[in-house]
Subunit: 347 residues, 2 copies
């Protein structure tokens, strides 16, 4: 076997390495670190190459590529969404991602992103809530207790100081699973029998369900004045969670309008319905919450820059650790023009 | 360390594995096999999802994603193009690719593609020449003796029965390298001091140079009647190799017009200049070479379906071999909704 040079080796963070990295750093500091990184990148939002995700749809799901670049570093994520996968014991969403050097095109990080996407989605939700939720929010309703629910709860605890999470899911087993996983985290966990019960006293309502269809997880009369809604589950054409009347009562904040109008809750509204971009609130160019009575809605679908931020966090975090494997994925002949010679000599 | 399930493991073909696979199969049979696979996929061309590549340009190069799908299998390639890289001892082009199952979105193959792209590009050139070059073509001029040149020569030998290759490069060291690499392959190799000398008696002229600028590798008076031109090097906006007068004398064949009009030689022509799609010649829907005097030109820029075909070939070829490593790149909790539990238990 020929020995590839350092340039040809790309650090690979496997699922196992990612889990070890989380335990090494601690999940709360890691959520905080990713959140900080996303906030920094949202500050320099105009600098990024932005494009709606490149989607390949089929009857049963979607496979997407989400590229972006800040001019120095290029990143992309591969992610699928297959709601029926769980029937066969598979994940609805799996993902991996890559960073590379814009100056050379050479990859510098290849990483699992199934777990990392859960972290960055939760960190983004917490960032939006930090800016938009009523001051001193301590109680969150968590509607939909699937794979995202614990990460959402812990991010709100780490970044906002959330004290109580009120769980509801159509499937009580999901709620039991989430409650069990949150034991010992310091959060007060209340398992609820109905969505109405879950939102009692909550300043933040997070919806995160998975059906690929127009659903009404929240009806208009369930939502009182002054709450912040964190709508995660509506994230592809035809998949929404909120009654349109709620949208009309809310001030709506989005990541990237071009994408959210196709995939988010606001696909139920006219194309020119006013929305505010979250990055503009972060830079101070736009106003966030105006008063205590306002309903703020973060219509989150996930954007490539958040994945970029999370990958940059991991790239920096694995330095001087053993939480990666060098992967021989780039051919690197001594003479760049002599690719064939390299192949021949490998015999 | 937790043990990932089989579903979570993706076969990874490293650079070293790819080189071993080539020597295991033999480069000629492998080029033939990839060529056959491309021909089969071109036969069912209309069935594929097609989109121009998703490019991220910078001052010094480009990073591209090239996705496609046949409805059952999804594939994409990451590829960069950085002409100045060789100055720093790096490859101009590096690539990797992935196949996944459309039904579940789960990846089924992850592979290096720097070497594989060289093979598929050569196999595509040979496929086009098999259809378009004059019957009994035995002599090829190879102008540009860089990383692609040996692969091009060997594919023409394996698939067309080429007997002689006449080499020319502005850098004699590149020609010497190519000649040395082709020793013992059975090809008669003639190193030439000028492009004019190289094309003497050649029925096929292949141009494959790397400068990112409008260049004139072939002038009008160099090209006689009845030849087949295989133009490989013109493959991005601003990068062409042929004098426009040659294009006007040629019958032009392309892969995917939407992409070739942006990236190929025909970016020098009007947008409505007639071209024939190669797949239509393969299915019989369009005519190929009409007579012995005609100049045929394959304006090749490389298309996602060719990468898809090459990846499918590799997916099948590594079965029951040791030329891959299982990569732990997909999180696969026992209960798909319990991603957090999997992370917790990994502690």
């Amino acid at each position: 076997m020929t020995q590839p040079s350092q340039k040809a080796l790309v650090p690979f963070v496997s699922v196992d390495h990612m889990m070890q990295l989380i335990h090494h750093i601690g999940i709360a500091p890691m959520l905080q670190g990713i959140c900080d990184r996303i906030e920094q990148d949202f500050h320099r939002w105009p600098l990024f190459d932005k494009t709606p995700r490149v989607a390949s749809h089929s009857d049963v799901g979607v496979i997407e590529l989400m590229p972006t670049s800040d001019g120095d570093v290029y990143g992309f994520k591969y992610v699928n969404g297959h709601p029926d996968n769980t029937k066969d014991g598979l994940q609805t969403v799996t993902a991996f991602g890559l960073l590379s050097d814009v100056a050379t095109g050479y990859p510098v990080l290849f990483s699992e992103m199934t777990i990392l996407t859960a972290l960055r989605t939760a960190a983004t939700s917490a960032l939006a809530a930090k800016i938009l939720a009523p001051k001193g929010s301590e109680v969150m309703a968590m509607i939909g207790n699937g794979a995202q629910s614990e990460f959402q709860s812990l991010a709100m605890q780490a970044i906002l100081g959330l004290k109580e999470v009120r769980l509801y899911d159509v499937d009580p087993a999901a709620t039991a699973k989430c409650a069990r996983n949150l034991e010992g985290t310091g959060l007060r966990v209340v398992s609820c029998a109905t969505a109405e019960e879950a939102i009692l006293g909550a300043q933040i309502i997070t919806t995160c369900t998975a059906d690929k269809q127009y659903a009404t997880i929240l009806t208009d009369n369930m939502v009182g004045a002054g709450v912040h809604i964190n709508a995660i589950g509506g994230d592809c054409p035809g998949k929404t969670e909120l009654a349109p009347a709620i949208l009309h009562r809310s001030e709506i904040f989005v990541e990237y309008p071009e994408q959210t109008r196709i995939e988010g809750e606001i696909q139920q509204l006219d194309d020119d319905h006013p929305v505010t971009e979250l990055w503009e609130v972060i830079t101070g160019a736009a106003q966030g919450r105006k008063d205590d009575k306002q309903i703020t809605l973060f219509d989150s679908v996930g954007f490539a820059i958040e994945d970029f931020s999370a990958l940059c966090y991991v790239r920096d975090a694995i330095k001087d650790t053993s939480f990666f494997t060098p992967l021989d994925m780039l051919a690197d002949p001594d003479d760049p023009r002599d690719l064939f010679g390299m192949v021949s000599r490998a015999k």
